[in-house]
Amino acid sequence: VRAVVFLVVCSSALAAEPPASKSLAGISREVVVRNVTATTDQNEWNPRFSPDGRYLSFERRDGSAQAIYVLDVDTTGAPAVRISSQPPRGPASAEQALLGAAPVDGSFNSQIAFYADGRFVFVGNGGTGTYHLYEGRLGGPPPKAVTADSKEDGHPALSPDGRWLAYVSARGGLGRLILRDLTIGAERSLTSGAKVDLYPVWSPDSRAIAYTSGDNDNHDVFLIPDVSAAVPAPRQLTTWKYDDLRPTFSPDGTLLAFYSNYSPTNEEKEWSIVTVPADGSGPSKGAALAKLAVAVNIVKDPEMGPAWLPWGHVIAYARNLKAEWNPISLVDVDTREELRLETHTRMNHDLACSPKGLLAFRAQVASWDDIFVADLRGAH
C-alpha cells in the first residue's frame, strides 16, 4: 500500500513539475511581465518585433491619426519613436497654435515590417483616402510612399534575406499578391485568381510565401513554394468548409500554423490553431486535417497570425476563456504538451514572439489596453 501511495504521490508531483517537452522545459509558468506602454488613457495594439528582436512596434490612436510606435526593447526607458505617413506640419490655424494643438496628423498607419538594418515598410494613407506602402528608417527623414501609382496597397512582408517585398494591392480591382525585387525594383503579380489574396508571409529561407485567399464566406491557406519560379504556382493547402486565416511559418520552416474556425465541438464562434507541413504534403480537409488542430477555443489575432517561439515547434496563444481573462498558453506542436503561463494580466491577445524569445502581447489595465512583454527564454 505504501508503494502505491508513494507512486501516486510521485506521479502527482511529476504533474506539477516542468513539462517533459524539451521545447517547453526550462520555461517558468510564473512569468515576469513588463508593461512597455503603460499609458493611462490610450489603447495600444498589434505588437510586432524586428527580425533581430531589438525593436518592438505597436499601434496607437493619436489624435485624429493612427500612428505606429517603435520601442528599443534592449534599452530600458528609451522613448518610443513615432512613425506616420503624414509629414510633420504646423497647427491648422492660429487658434490651434494658441491652444497648443499638436501638429495635425490625420493619417492612418499600420502593419509595419522591418528590414534587418533599421529600415521599415508600412501601410499608410498620408492623411488621404488611398493606402500605399511607405518606407522609412528609424531616426531618418519622414517616410516616403514607395507604391505611389497603385490604388490600395497593404500587408507588406519583407523576405528574411532582404531581397523581396511581397504585398497586397487592389490596383486591379481585387486584392492580389505583388512581388517586388528590391535589388532592381521590378515588380510582378504572384497571384491572379478570382478571389482576394491576403496576409502574405515568408518562409525562413526566403523562397516560399504562404497566404490566405478567399471571399466573405470562406478563406483557405495557399502556398507558393518558389517565388523566383518563372510562373509562380500557388498550391491550395486547405480545401474544407472552414475559414482559414493568417498562416505563419515555424522558425525552421517545416510547419505552417494558421487560424481556423474549425472547432471539435462544432461551436461556430470558436477558433482553433491548425498546423500543416509547409511543403504541402499534409491533408487539406476532413478528419485528417482536424487532427492537426493543436489548440482549440483560442483568441485569434488576424493582424499577425499564430506566434511561434524561436526554438522547437512551440506556439504561444491566448485561450478564449473570458472568465479567466484569456490566459496565455504554450503548446508544443510535436508532443501536444501544453504549458499555461501565469502572467497576471487581463484579456490577453495580439501575441507576437521575438527571435530572442521575448513574448509581446496586449492586455487590459483598467479599461485601456497596454502592450506587455515577457521573457520566455529560461533555459533556452
Partner: protein, 480 residues
C-alpha cells in the same frame, strides 16, 4: 480598522479622473487637458498655478479658460435641444401609460418641454390647463404661470405676459430675461438649488459675476426637480428644462467674463480671437450690440476660417433693428460658401426661424450636405458633431447620419471623451436614439457623464423611453 485609511486612499485614487494622472505643469498641461476635453480640469489646473505662470503664457492661458467655457456653452446648447426632444417624447410615453395618468407632474413638465422645444402655442395651452389641476403644488403653478408668460411673449402677446414677468423672484427674473432680454437682479435671495441657478444666470447679465459665482459653488446640476413615488416600484423623476437654459447662459457668461479683458487689452491674434469668442458668446446671450462691436473689432485680424462667420454674425446682430437688403444677404451667402463654421451659423439662424434667412432655406440643405467636400483639413470632431445634430434636426435618416459620424469616431476608443469630441459623441448618441438603438445611445451618454455634469436629465428621460418602447429596456438602469 487600520486598513480603512489605506482602503479609502486607494478608492480615492481610483476615483480620480484619469486625465489628471500625468498632467504636465503650466500652460502645456492645461492645453493637454483641453485637447482631451477635460475643460473644467484644464481651468482648475491653470488657476491653481496662475501665480507661477510665466507672463508670456498668461494671454494664451486666459484664452484657453474662455475658450473652454465657449466649448461648454456650445455643448450645453446642443444638449438642451436634444434634451427638449427627448424630454417631450418621454412625457408622451408617460401620458400614454395608464399607470402614470394620475401624476400631476406629467402635464406640467410636458408644458415645460413644449416651451423648451419652441412649441409655444402648445406650451401656452398646456401651462394654462395646469392652473386648474388641484394636485399641482402652488409653487409649481407659479412656475407654470411664468413659463406661460414666456410662451405668450414669444407668440407676440407681450401685454398678457407683462404682469407675471414683473414678479421679483429669481425664476421670474430669469423668465423675464429669456423673454425680453432685460436683466434685473432678483429682489429676493434665492432659496435652494433651482433658484440659485436662475438667480446666477440673471446676476451675470446684470454685471454681478462675483455674486453669481458665489451662488454656483457646489451646485448639483443633475438632481431631479420633482419626484413621484406613488408607485414605489416605479419612481418617476422630472428635470426642469429651465435650469438647462440657465446653465447654458451661465457658460456663455463665464466665457464673456474670461475673454472680454483679453479682447480689450490683449494684443495680436490673442486679442482678435478673444474678441471673436466673446462676441459669439454675447450673440448667444442676446446682447447683440455688444456682440457686433466685439466681432467687428476682431474681424480684420482673424484667420480666413473665422472671418466669414464673424461677418455673418455681425450682420445678423443688426437684423432685428435694421432688416438687411437683398444684396447684402446675397453677398453674405456667397462669402460663406464652403466655410463649415459659417454654414452652421446659417443653420442656427434658420432654425431660429429668422425670416431674413428664408431666401436661403432650400439652398442651405445642399450646403450642409456638401459641407466637407470643400474642407482642406479634416474637420474637427466639434464641427462634425454640430453638423450631425443639424442634419438630424432636419429629419435626415439617422442610420445615414450615424454612418457618417462613425467615420470620425475613434474606433479604438469608441466612447472615450478624451479621444472623441463631446459634440460628436452627443450627435452619435442622438442618432442612436433616433434609430431606436437606445442601449447604445445611453452607453455613450454614460461615458460623457463621467466628466460632464448636467446630463442626468437626458439620461433619465431616454431610459424612460427605452423602458416604455422596448421590453428589455426595463433592465437598463443608470445610477440615480
Amino acid at each position: 480598522l487600520k486598513r480603512r485609511p489605506a482602503l479609502m486612499a486607494t478608492l480615492a485614487l481610483a476615483a480620480a479622473p484619469l486625465a489628471l494622472a500625468a498632467v504636465k505643469p503650466g500652460l502645456e498641461g492645461a492645453q493637454e487637458l483641453f485637447r482631451k476635453n477635460h475643460w473644467d480640469e484644464a481651468r482648475a489646473h491653470l488657476r491653481a498655478q496662475w501665480s507661477t505662470l510665466p507672463q508670456k503664457d498668461q494671454g494664451a492661458a486666459t484664452f484657453l479658460i474662455g475658450r473652454s467655457y465657449v466649448r461648454e456653452a456650445e455643448l450645453y446648447r446642443a444638449l438642451r435641444r436634444v434634451g427638449a426632444e427627448v424630454g417631450l417624447a418621454y412625457m408622451g410615453e408617460l401620458t400614454a401609460a395608464k399607470l402614470s395618468r394620475g401624476v400631476a407632474w406629467i402635464p406640467l413638465f410636458t408644458g415645460f418641454y413644449q416651451l423648451e422645444a419652441g412649441k409655444d402655442r402648445e406650451a401656452e395651452r398646456s401651462l394654462l390647463a395646469v392652473q386648474s389641476q388641484k394636485t399641482v403644488p402652488p409653487e409649481w403653478k407659479a412656475s407654470a404661470q411664468l413659463r406661460r408668460a414666456v410662451a405668450l411673449y414669444h407668440l407676440g402677446r407681450g401685454p398678457e405676459a407683462a404682469a407675471a414677468l414683473q414678479e421679483p423672484g429669481p425664476e421670474a427674473r430669469l423668465c423675464r430675461l429669456l423673454a425680453t432680454g432685460v436683466a434685473e437682479a432678483p429682489a429676493t435671495p434665492p432659496k435652494g438649488r433651482r433658484e440659485s441657478l436662475a438667480a446666477a444666470a440673471v446676476l451675470f447679465r446684470a454685471g454681478r459675476a462675483s455674486d453669481a459665482e458665489r451662488l454656483l459653488a457646489g451646485l448639483d446640476l443633475d438632481a431631479p426637480d420633482a419626484e413621484d413615488a406613488s408607485d414605489p416600484k416605479k419612481i418617476l423623476r422630472f428635470h426642469d428644462p429651465l435650469l438647462s437654459a440657465a446653465w447654458e447662459r451661465i457658460c456663455w457668461e463665464r466665457a464673456v467674463v474670461s475673454l472680454k479683458p483679453l479682447a480689450m487689452g490683449g494684443v495680436g491674434i490673442e486679442k482678435a480671437l478673444a474678441a471673436y469668442y466673446a462676441g459669439l458668446s454675447l450673440f448667444h446671450l442676446g446682447a447683440l450690440a455688444d456682440a457686433a462691436k466685439l466681432l467687428g473689432d476682431a474681424g480684420p485680424a482673424l484667420g480666413p476660417e473665422l472671418q466669414p462667420t464673424a461677418r455673418l454674425l455681425v450682420a445678423a446682430a443688426s437684423w432685428r433693428d435694421k432688416p438687411p437688403a437683398a444684396a447684402e444677404l446675397t453677398s453674405l451667402w456667397d462669402a460663406t460658401r464652403g466655410q463649415p463654421d459659417a454654414v452652421l451659423v446659417w443653420e442656427e439662424l434658420a432654425a431660429g426661424r429668422d425670416p431674413k434667412t428664408e431666401p436661403f432655406a432650400s439652398k442651405l440643405d445642399a450646403r450642409l450636405k456638401e459641407l466637407w467636400l470643400s474642407a482642406d483639413e479634416g474637420p474637427s470632431g466639434a464641427l462634425i458633431g454640430a453638423w450631425g445634430l443639424a442634419r438630424l434636426k432636419r429629419g435626415d435618416d439617422p442610420a445615414v447620419i450615424l454612418a457618417a459620424l462613425s467615420v470620425h469616431r475613434d474606433a479604438s476608443n469608441k466612447n472615450k471623451l478624451e479621444w472623441n469630441d463631446p459634440l460628436l459623441l452627443l450627435a452619435l448618441s442622438t442618432a442612436n436614439y433616433r434609430d431606436q438603438q437606445y442601449a447604445q445611445s445611453l452607453e455613450t451618454l454614460f461615458e460623457m457623464s463621467k466628466a460632464l455634469p448636467g446630463l442626468r436629465s437626458l439620461q433619465w428621460n431616454l431610459q424612460g423611453i427605452y423602458a416604455a418602447r422596448q421590453t428589455a429596456g426595463g433592465e437598463a438602469r443608470i445610477s440615480q
